[in-house]
């Protein structure tokens, strides 16, 4: 156990881990709390973490499983924020429409149940395979598939609703 080794790892990995934490939580403060809490736990077990084939994969696994553990997600459920208003853009209607869809999707992802959200983030942000996601979450690739499918079903349904209720709806 060397604190120097741990310190070097945290300083090198902080930014990329924070981005994943932010994708999982949708909120800067919550992401920082999640990452700090994760790294404290990692410190406690640094010997084990240091021996892992991929430290990042190990730490990400700790973080994702913490993010989907029941109480945290539910405690913060009401804190999911809608996208901040954007200033008017003169680049054209289709650009605005794409950004609106992007914002809408971001909000919808943050409202997914925690496990489905984790699968979506690992699949579409981290670009992990179903097998890799299964390894992170401790579930089978088949379960990853059904989680992803359920999440996509929900997102499609909500986007479809948005497209039918928004003037000039998205496609």
């Amino acid at each position: 156990m060397t604190t120097e080794d741990y310190t070097a790892y945290v300083e090198g990995a902080w930014q990329r881990l924070f981005r994943t934490a932010y994708a999982l939580t949708g909120d800067v403060r919550t992401a920082e709390e999640l990452l700090q809490s994760t790294l404290v736990k990692v410190y406690v077990s640094w010997r084990r973490v240091a021996r892992a084939d991929s430290r990042d994969a190990y730490v990400r696994r700790v973080m994702v499983n913490q993010a989907i553990s029941g109480w945290r997600s539910r405690r913060h459920r009401d804190e999911v924020l809608t996208p901040e208003p954007r200033p008017a853009d003169s680049a054209g209607q289709s650009f605005d429409a794409d950004l609106a869809i992007s914002d809408e999707l971001w909000g919808l992802v943050q409202r997914l149940p925690p496990r489905q959200r984790a699968v979506v983030v690992l699949r579409y942000y981290e670009d992990l395979s179903e097998r890799e996601i299964g390894s992170v979450l401790g579930i089978s690739p088949g379960t990853v598939k059904s989680q992803a499918s359920a999440a996509m079903t929900k997102l499609r349904a909500q986007m479809q609703h948005a497209s039918t209720t928004t003037p000039g709806g998205h496609q």
Binding site: K41, Y43, L105, R115, M152, T153, A157, Q158
Partner: protein, 389 residues
């Protein structure tokens, strides 16, 4: 130009995550907190041992008095439900009760069985038991009320080259279950009556491939003889008895007793197109969650469970089981099943799958009776079966 959802998701995540400037880490603080935690864990070993011995003694008393899993003590120190507006809660429907799941066991109707249900989505409660995709192949199964697990379909789909979908929909008030068998080109939807064990509907529909992800039709919800199909953003209500398909505006998220809910309760469904008597639940703003089996109540499960009569929102029941509520669902007998967690939330095992410092408890909470322990406190995570947990 139309862009598929996969691409839009990637773009959205990249754009929003990329726009955030990560704060600077305070590594010194992390090290200090880590050292304190290590010290606490070592000091906590002896205290945990004492607590474990005390817990074993209490459980021994329960066994000696003959208390079964449903006969545990009423919540100590309060926790009685609060009923407002004369709320009485959902009506009883015929179905399995007291359903809790761990990684290795299922608790059902007052007993527990060594059966592995899917750990995440895919299982649904029907009148005769729990329909679920069997881990390792997703073969549709039914866990009957007496704990017998019976296959509903052959080990491999009849459709050549097909695999079972990891989702088995069930009618909470009926005996129909439905699943899909996919190839890369098409999806065969099968509807089976678990009472007669006969297939009562079968239809083959095309799949659509988008960037390596197959979007195949699947039966998402079954209620009152109608199978609601998810067709990649479109939704159809299929009546196998009459072989009719009706496009409905949005996919329902749940349906019981001819009452539908939508995702996040935001959308609207053309209930009139489905048939007479169908309606959509419109819970009050800010209330979302699980639909009761009688269709009349919504369980807001974002904290202490709160049951709301969506037709008359002045009627509410709030349950307060001890501990931090991790999840809650309706039971078929009108009560609310709750899983609580106690322990140091920051002490989850870094390995990620074994929360060694946490304790999980399964409760059955009912109006007039408080919360009773169904699954005694244990280190294994306890989950519930619901569409959205």
């Amino acid at each position: 130009m139309s862009i598929d959802l996969d691409t839009r998701l990637r773009d959205s995540l990249d754009r929003h995550v990329g726009a955030v400037a990560p704060p600077r880490p305070d590594v010194g603080d992390l090290v200090r907190r880590g050292r304190r935690r290590r010290g606490r864990r070592l000091a906590g070993v002896s205290a945990l041992t004492v607590a474990a011995l005390a817990g074993a003694a209490m459980f021994g008393v329960g066994l000696m008095t003959g208390a079964g899993p449903r006969g545990g003590n009423v919540t100590p120190g309060g926790g009685l439900p609060i009923s407002v507006g004369g709320a009485t809660g959902p009506a009883v429907v015929d179905g399995p009760t007291g359903l809790f799941v761990t990684r290795s066991r299922v608790y059902l109707n007052g007993s527990s069985y060594a059966v592995k249900l899917p750990w995440d989505t895919g299982a649904h409660v029907g009148r005769l038991g729990v329909a679920y995709p069997k881990p390792g192949g997703n073969r549709p199964m039914l866990l009957e009320r007496d704990g017998t697990a019976v296959p509903l379909a052959p080990a491999r789909p009849a459709l050549p080259g097909a695999t079972y979908d990891g989702w088995v929909a069930a009618d909470g008030n009926g005996t129909l279950v439905a699943w899909a068998e996919h190839t890369r080109q098409k999806s065969q939807i099968v509807v089976l009556d678990t009472k007669t064990r006969k297939v009562v509907g079968r239809v083959t529909l095309p799949c659509v491939e988008q960037q390596g992800f197959l979007s195949c039709p699947r039966p998402y919800v079954v209620s009152d003889g109608i199978v609601f199909l998810d067709r990649g953003g479109r939704s159809q209500a299929w009546d196998p008895a009459t072989s009719t398909f009706v496009d409905v505006s949005q996919l329902p998220s749940q349906a019981h007793s001819k009452v539908l809910t939508t995702f996040e309760d935001r959308g609207s469904i053309d209930t009139g197109r489905i048939g007479p008597g169908w309606e959509q639940a419109h819970p009050p703003k800010g209330v979302e969650g699980i639909l009761s089996y009688d269709g009349g109540w919504i369980l807001d499960n974002g904290g202490n469970p709160k049951v709301v009569n969506w037709r008359d929102p002045s009627q509410t029941i709030t349950y307060r089981p001890p501990g931090v509520v991790a999840a809650s669902v309706f039971d078929t007998d009108g009560s609310v099943l709750v899983v609580t967690v106690t322990g140091d939330p920051a002490a989850i095992d870094p390995a990620g799958t074994t929360n060694t410092d946490l304790r999980w408890t399964g409760w059955d909470c009912r109006l007039g009776g408080g919360c009773r322990v169904v699954v005694p406190e244990q280190k294994q995570e306890i989950r519930l079966v619901a569409w959205d947990l």
